[in-house]
């Protein structure tokens, strides 16, 4: 589905019949909350017209605890997979991530409990490491400039549904569906996503893959601290990301990739609440709008200063305060 015309983002509350909202470690209870909410969000949405393969792309980049809001709750992914399975009983439904130089996707998926979540959701979905599969080389243009992309073939051939959580990236932009895609697409020697991302590459990757819809797990968001908002959002990827940026109080023009993706679209999106959902202003006020914690890396200037002090003060330099080489 291409974003154009009057993009509408659906918002619903994911509390099921549960009196107690917020994080619960009980997988069944979370699935009970998310199944009906996701079914509502995706009702009538054409996820994969003729595709016999649908790939779900959650934020499963590292085994942070889902209650932190830094990764997608596997129960939300299970609910999305089960909904797609119902609509496409013959399709090959997969949940995908990509191993990187930090950690293998298999290990992350195991620590986050993906197998059990997919099994309990009755989703009949596989886990796929996109780092292992074939890649399709595509060139996208940015004015006079050509940007080469290495896109996992399964994302070009089938339907794709990013399921990110609502959080900022290290660079401070909204993570969202666009960056969930960019994280598994290569360009040059690395992935398209990252602090030094090329906006043209991010937009090119999203437009080439053309994700069906993006479902945002905002049940727990992160913005300097976690917040249990108990809502899910769904809609065209760039529209959902734009709404996510608004909720996290990001400066949209400062997000080059998102601004470029929205260029030419209407300057507004329609928000369609399903059920008893707090209004957007309330959601926005409640959501923390901070950044990721600072990296542990010692700033080179601090390292130099400490070495100087240690030389003068006859002290040792702790390994933690040495700059990485």
């Amino acid at each position: 589905m291409t974003v154009s015309g009057d993009p509408t983002v659906r918002v619903t509350r994911a509390d099921g019949d549960d009196a107690r909202t917020g994080w619960t470690p009980d997988l069944e209870r979370r699935l009970d909350r998310f199944r009906p909410a996701v079914a509502d969000l995706l009702e009538g949405v054409e996820i994969a017209a003729d595709a016999d393969r649908v790939t779900i792309l959650p934020d499963a980049h590292y085994p942070f605890h889902p209650s932190s809001g830094m990764v997608t709750d596997p129960a939300v992914v299970g609910a999305v997979a089960a909904t797609i399975r119902r609509e496409h009983p013959d399709a090959e439904v997969s949940v995908a991530g990509a191993s990187d130089d930090r950690i293998d996707f298999d290990r992350t998926a195991a620590y986050l409990g993906y197998r059990e979540a997919l099994e309990r959701a009755d989703a009949d979905a596989d886990l796929v490491d996109l780092a292992d599969g074939r890649r399709s080389l595509r060139t996208v243009s940015d004015g006079d400039r050509a940007v080469d992309l290495r896109i996992p073939e399964r994302l070009v051939e089938g339907g794709v549904v990013p399921v990110p959580t609502l959080r900022p990236t290290e660079a401070g932009t909204v993570a969202g569906g666009m960056r969930a895609i960019a994280r598994v697409v290569g360009s040059g020697g690395s992935t398209v996503a990252g602090p030094d991302e090329d906006p043209a590459a991010v937009v090119g990757a999203v437009r080439t893959i053309d994700p069906a819809w993006t479902v945002v797990d905002a049940a727990t968001t992160y913005g300097g601290r976690p917040h249990a908002s108990d809502v899910l959002l769904a809609g065209p990827t760039t529209a959902v990301d734009a709404l996510g940026a608004v909720l996290l109080d990001r400066d949209l023009p400062a997000d080059d990739a998102l601004s470029a993706a929205l260029e030419g679209d209407d300057a507004s999106i329609t928000v369609s609440p399903i059920g008893d959902v707090p209004d957007l202003e309330t959601l926005r006020e409640r959501m923390p709008d901070g950044e990721l914690p600072p990296a542990d890396d010692t700033h080179p200037a601090v390292s130099v200063a400490y070495r100087l002090y240690a030389a003068v003060g006859d002290d040792a330099v702790p390994p933690q305060l040495e700059a990485r080489r």
Partner: protein
């Protein structure tokens, strides 16, 4: 019970201890740096299987590095070896050191089990080498402050104490831009999870304060689907002082240095002793003061405080320094192999009680009927007005 009663003889005659570091990952590098800052200690070699770790050791001034610790022990004439390898290698490394007659300072946990610790201590006894264990927490300035207050009897009888030690373990916290070590999450390599990694430090501190401990009950948990526990809660009794203690440790909480979540509270008859009262009000201000003090010590000829501005690392320095002093004096180390073994025995009791409790709960858990499928009638709920967001 094993004991090392005979005086230890050193391999070299010089007053300077020749020291090698086996394993120069994170904590091994701290020991290496500490040792290099000590008078009368010469760090002659380091070993690590990881090339980048060896390069770090070389950059820190170590003359020779080895990719195999056994090769180091064979090739170098050492007085002391610091064993900072994963726990799975502790026993074998101590056996090799014992064959070479080299005293060892072993990173905690001493071993993965008391059985393994017994074999390790037997080898050490056969080789007549000293075994010290790096139970650092008791050297930490805030814990030292609590111990001093308690020893002074400032709150009278202490019927209850609580201790919490939390960090973010091998998985770290965002942005997590480096690969997590795999061995701490491997029960074969590490022997266990938070209880062996963090709880064991707490057992040592609590026994140091209250004497021999008895484990009454324990509970373990995991917050992610990982192969070892990342949370443990233990109820203890200290018969000697009549103190009931709760201990909680876990590697599930994000840690942002210099803030470290170690809490020790002693509830006494006339008041509370807390380690928080012995922490700097502001770590950065304290660091600046310590740095100035060390710089001034060059003029006043006072000895500098090693790792002065970095509050917690001073404990590592002092623990190793105490061990080296004991070796030099031919005395038993202040925190020796028996201390390390006792903490392991407490951890094992906790594991056993937790497992027993889990089995009991499994037996007693009533059959839960399948909950009725929740049929939240959400149709027709789209009755709110649509809203438009201007970007």
């Amino acid at each position: 019970m094993l004991s090392l009663s005979s005086p230890f003889s050193r391999r070299t005659d010089s007053s300077t201890l020749r020291l090698g570091v086996l394993g120069v990952g994170n904590i091994g590098m701290v020991h290496l740096k500490s040792a290099r800052a000590m008078a009368d200690v010469e760090v002659v070699a380091a070993a690590d299987a990881v090339p980048e770790n060896r390069r770090r050791a070389e950059r820190a001034g170590v003359a020779r590095t080895y990719d195999d610790y056994a090769a180091l022990l064979e090739a170098e004439a050492l007085d002391v070896a610091v064993v900072a390898l994963p726990p799975v290698l502790h026993r074998e490394a101590v056996e090799r050191a014992a064959e070479a007659g080299v005293d060892v300072f072993v990173e905690k946990p001493l071993a993965r089990s008391t059985d393994e610790a017994d074999r390790l201590l037997e080898a050490a006894a056969d080789g007549a080498i000293a075994v010290g264990v790096d139970h650092t927490l008791r050297y930490q300035p805030d814990i030292v402050g609590v111990a001093e207050e308690y020893a002074d009897g400032t709150v009278g009888h202490v019927p209850y104490a609580s201790m919490t030690r939390l960090n973010d373990g091998p998985l770290g916290r965002p942005p997590a831009d480096s690969a997590p070590a795999s061995w701490p999450l491997d029960p074969e390599a590490a022997g266990g999870g938070s209880l062996l990694e963090l709880g064991i430090h707490c057992f040592d501190v609590l026994e140091h304060l209250f004497g021999e401990l008895e484990v009454r009950s324990a509970s373990l948990g995991t917050t992610l689907e990982i192969p070892v526990e990342d949370a443990a809660t233990v109820l203890l009794e200290a018969p000697e002082t009549g103190t009931t203690i709760t201990l909680h440790c876990g590697s599930y909480q994000w840690e942002e240095l210099p803030e470290v979540n170690t809490r020790l509270r002693l509830e006494g008859v006339t008041g509370t002793i807390s380690n928080e009262d012995h922490l700097p009000d502001n770590f950065y201000v304290d660091a600046a003061k310590e740095a100035l003090r060390n710089v001034a010590s060059r003029v006043t000829d006072d000895a500098p405080t090693v790792f002065g501005p970095t509050f917690y690392l001073q404990a590592h320095y002092r623990a190793l320094e105490d061990f080296c002093d004991a070796v030099r004096a031919g005395e038993s180390p202040p925190v020796d192999g028996e201390d390390g073994r006792r903490t392991l025995a407490l951890a094992e009791q906790a594991y056993e009680l937790a497992a027993e409790d889990a089995r009991k709960r499994d037996r007693e858990e009533p059959f839960e009927a399948e909950a009725d499928a929740r049929d939240s009638d959400r149709d027709g709920d789209r009755d709110q007005d649509e809203a438009e967001v201007t970007l």
